[in-house]
């Protein structure tokens, strides 16, 4: 079972991601509302997988990805964002994210994206 941290400034999105996770494959160990909180919780819980929003107060997702990857280069990060332009996706992937899921998303799309992220 893989440990998962959810990062999103929306509580309803954090709860949606938590609800639709396959409990046999993922165990949610932390949920953060911005990048700064995510970095603190990462150091405490050391998750193997992270879902990451991009537009957040305090510290945005791109900056947070860069810092998380500096702490753990094997971390698997799935960006979940409404920002649907190619440049943003490429920027997140260059910083170390391994997948991108555009909001709005269905439960099936989330599970498929997480499965692809953790298959290798």
């Amino acid at each position: 079972m893989l440990s998962l941290m959810i990062v999103d400034d929306s509580n309803i999105i954090r709860r949606k991601i938590e609800r639709c996770n396959d409990s046999d494959r993922f165990r949610v160990v932390a949920a953060a509302a911005n990048g700064i909180e995510a970095l603190e919780l990462f150091k405490q819980t050391r998750p193997q997988v992270v879902t990451m929003d991009l537009t957040m107060p305090e510290m945005d997702g791109i900056a947070c990805i860069e810092q998380l990857m500096a702490l753990d280069s094997k971390l698997r990060i799935l960006v979940i964002s409404a920002l649907s332009d190619k440049a943003t996706g490429i920027s997140a992937l260059k910083k170390g994210a391994r997948g991108f899921l555009c909001k709005p998303f269905t439960d099936d799309q989330l599970l498929e994206a997480l499965t692809e992220l953790t298959e290798d």
Binding site: I13, K16, R19, T55, L83
Partner: protein, 149 residues
């Protein structure tokens, strides 16, 4: 504002509702309003826009629509906190999705959620806004676009 630009936001709101359990959303004909008489329902989520376009995009809806929308995305807690969270998330999603057409220079802020209509800080009095009516279940809501290039 061109029809093509408005269509980006129409597509965005339709896409959002198509990801709920009740996909039967309808969009009315957009119309212009003076910013001193802004369109608003009970709760409003505002996204500030900067870059080549400047202004704001907001989603405004009655509480009862937002309560049903929460249930429709599987959220059983329809508290006021979640109603405000949702109206901001809808505005954020519609605005963020618009970057697929306008590119990464279409900069969006984090959402600001308020009761009622945006004030002059978000909605400059000398400008006008396009209102896109949204009909879902028995309720009316609106996406409002106030942008200058």
């Amino acid at each position: 504002m061109s029809q093509e630009t408005l269509q980006v936001f129409i597509d965005g709101v339709v896409r959002y509702f198509h990801h709920t359990n009740d996909k039967n959303v309808k969009v009315g004909t957009p119309y212009l309003v003076e910013n001193n008489k802004p369109a608003a329902y009970d709760v409003t989520g505002i996204i500030g826009i900067s870059g080549p376009y400047r202004g704001c995009v907001y989603f405004t809806a009655p509480r009862i629509l937002l309560k049903h929308l929460l249930l429709s995305i599987g959220e059983s807690d329809t508290s006021n906190e979640h109603i405000f969270d949702l109206v901001g998330e809808v505005a954020n999603t519609i605005s963020g999705n618009a970057r697929s057409r306008f590119g990464h220079e279409f900069m969006i802020s984090v959402p600001v959620m308020i009761e009622g209509a945006p004030n002059h800080i978000h909605l400059p009095a000398q400008m006008r806004s396009y209102v896109i009516p949204v009909y879902w279940k028995a309720y009316h809501a609106a996406v409002v676009i106030c942008l200058e290039q």
